[in-house]
Subunit: 473 residues, 2 copies
């Protein structure tokens, strides 16, 4: 038990934004450490035709791609109807992975400062080998040992949790364009006592992770989603941080639960209810053998336009990982996406222009997404009115107003070289307060919504972490 006089770990985490790190005095030391990882572990990823992946087979009746054990995931067809949208009806391949995995980060106080136990982890879809990952990143197949690999280190800390050490414990969605109702359990758990960093693991402060977010393709998607759910409390941040300019001051105020908001949280919830009621999304899973508009040729499945993504196969060989050698299908997006928040102060409180975004794979139709989330190339052939709103404000912004602009990778276990440019851009834009699809939200409203599942999509969660990382800088 934690003594009652000790402050709650989510309050103490704020101090981790500015305090010096215990293991690495500066990030240069971290980069040295990460470089040494490559000396002890390696991964070779070769493209392979889908029809030649060992242990993967096509279901004779449906043509769905599945593992011989029936575990892990399958690739299926999804038929989508979304009346009234720019493309009111389409079919596509989609990954179906009904298991709920664990994405968990351990926290331990070192020299009075909370540190996070992070892992340098390779994934076959990473464009660059190692990325900074959560302590534990395990599908149920992993942790029930379906593929007979080694046990997952530190998993025991996330199996029986309750009490004051649990900072985050909430299922969140992932990419609804590529995953059918995928959700993972995002966890942050504080440990007492002598947990040590094993080979390949290290202790970082939140401030150090924030600094590393500015390095392209380094902090992985799983680490980003978990850390975005940390419930920062305005008062604790105010005690720790001294804003150095008007932007940071407005950002800091935005975490204060008492800060005024453009819309009450009740109105935001009512808006979400309205959008989810109005949006008549119908999806049906179907056989991958025949997906209108898509064809299986040259060992992969592609859209006839060449746009969107391909379903590809890879053979993987690795050392220093749970399993030495395997093959799998992956989704390989065609382009690099743009994921951006437009932000501005409202009454001195930073607000984020939030889009109610519908994706076919969401469990509940619509989630709150970034102001802009698209691959601009996918829209080039569509008429002006069907192009993503607010994209010109993002791409045409004066450089002085671009607060964050880094290319980051998506989940390298399922997506092959999936990269997006994440931006936070200041704006003076005035919007219609009754716009059916957009609202300005303060960050403390996001903190409240992130206590619950499926309100905030994974791209917005990444951007929220990017915003948090701007607090001490």
């Amino acid at each position: 038990m934690v003594a009652p006089s000790r402050r709650a770990v989510n309050l103490r985490l704020s101090e981790s934004l500015t305090a010096p790190g215990a293991q690495f005095g500066d990030v240069a030391q971290f980069h040295d450490w990460l470089a040494r990882m490559g000396e002890h572990a390696w991964m070779e990823v070769r493209r392979a035709p889908l029809e030649a992946l060992p242990n993967w087979e096509r279901d004779p009746a449906t043509g769905n791609l599945r593992h011989a054990t029936g575990k892990f995931f399958s690739v299926e067809r999804l038929d989508v109807e979304l009346p009234g949208s720019a493309v009111p009806r389409w079919s596509q391949p989609i990954i179906n992975q009904p298991e709920i995995g664990i994405l968990g980060i351990l926290v331990k106080e070192i020299d009075g400062v909370p540190h996070l136990l992070m892992q340098a982890k390779q994934e076959p879809g990473n464009p660059n080998g190692f990325q900074l990952s959560p302590t534990v990143q395990a599908t149920r197949s992993n942790y029930t040992r379906v593929h007979q690999g080694r046990p997952v280190p530190y998993l025991e800390h996330f199996r029986d949790v309750s009490g004051p050490g649990t900072v985050v414990d909430i299922r969140q969605s992932e990419q609804g364009a590529w995953f059918y109702r995928k959700r993972n359990r995002n966890m942050v758990v504080e440990v007492d006592g002598d947990v040590e960093a094993a080979e390949g693991f290290c202790w970082l402060t939140l401030g150090q992770i924030g600094e590393l977010l500015t390095v392209p393709d380094l902090v992985n998607m799983d680490a980003r989603t978990v850390l975005s759910c940390v419930p920062f409390v305005g008062a604790a941040l105010r005690d720790t941080l001294r804003p150095r300019d008007a932007f940071t001051a407005a950002l800091l105020r935005s975490f204060d639960p008492d800060a005024p908001t453009a819309h009450t949280t009740g109105d935001v919830l009512s808006w979400i209810t309205e959008v989810r009621t109005r949006t008549d999304l119908r999806v049906e899973r179907g056989p991958l053998a025949e997906v209108p508009g898509w064809s299986h040729a040259d060992g992969r499945i592609s859209h006839e336009s060449g746009r969107f993504f391909h379903v590809v196969g890879v053979d993987v060989e690795a050392g220093g990982r749970e399993v030495g050698r395997w093959s799998q299908p992956m989704i390989e997006p065609v382009g690099t996406g743009v994921i951006a928040f437009l932000v501005k102060p409202v009454d001195g409180v930073l607000h984020v222009l939030t889009h109610a975004r519908t994706e076919p794979g969401y469990a509940d139709t619509t989630e709150l997404g970034p102001t802009v989330q698209c691959d601009p190339d996918n829209y080039a052939h569509l008429p002006e009115g069907a192009r993503p709103r607010h994209l010109p404000e993002v791409l045409g912004a004066d450089p002085s107003r671009v607060r964050f602009d880094v290319v980051l990778s998506e989940e390298g276990g399922r997506f092959f070289h999936a990269r997006n440019r994440y931006l936070v851009v200041e704006t003076d834009l005035e919007t219609d307060p009754a716009d059916p699809d957009y609202r300005w939200l303060a960050l403390h409203q996001y903190v409240e919504l992130l206590r619950h599942s499926f309100y905030v999509n994974i791209q917005a969660r990444s951007l929220l972490l990017c915003l948090t990382s701007l607090l001490p800088r």
Copy 2:
């Protein structure tokens, strides 16, 4: 716009629990009014074989029962896997109604007291003709006029809402054993100005509706779910109510957001995450033509054991309703269910023993349900260990500890004579605080959870309204 000096309508609604009614001085006058309804409207419901329902057809490929327009709802087959449960695998018929309907109640201040506009409404499945219903109870087929009926009165007040008059606006689930992912939009909206009660409508205070809850089969399910979502605030209740005994005092304290709780809300949310992660529910929709264990004979679909429910057909003829004559399938449960909360004070704050309940039709696997929710007859053939927990404490309680005990009906538009005995029973029961399936919750925690979708099931919502109705009595 509401003037800023006016108190929020959810605060003023507390006063509606005790203040006298403007239209009816006492409930006897209401009963007179209700009796007169029968003089101007009638409904004749005759059982009819499923295969002979006009405008209903069986899909040639699947045997699913559907309306000729493709609207309203269909009856399909659901295959369920729930490993580790008493019945780990079964198939059943289920109603699929993807449309989100509106259940809305208008509030207006009369003589300074908020009154609710309620409707005396007949439904074919009601065992007793008229029940007290929300102002608006409309499927999308209703309000988009698929069946070419008359326009839905008062619907316009629920179509464009935002601002301080919206008290409740949240989608909630319905019976997950009979409906596949059904959800309705529950709304309470305050109106200014001269809205009048049309024929068949009346103005009641919350206290009067609470009094009418003690009349069997009177306050219908839709009215109960909508009113259960009203966010009562402890402070406003304290200003209005004077508890007359220890039970009522503990009940009142339980609405105070600052009242101590057996588990923090963070721990409750983490528990819900844990249960929803652990519960490996798999459901697949399938063809009604062949449902293992069920057969279509004598014009209805029944389980071979005679238990659970039948799918039956009815021919309906009505006057004073949107449509004069129609036919439809309905679900007719075999027995009368028992739906009960065990309650006890913890540190002087009433807590409710809450069961994390999994039903195949839930959008998200598991919701918080009553302590006991079952038809006892369905379990008579199962071994002791598979019988519902806590049923003996409910049925064997000393009468002095039974605070509420009334038989109420479920939705008469889809269910035929579906009735449950709703009970609130005081207990001294001690439970294991780490029991994987039960937690003690205070009412203010329910108020917070009811701002969001799919946390609290429809049976628990009815019981929460029953508890609220005990405040002034």
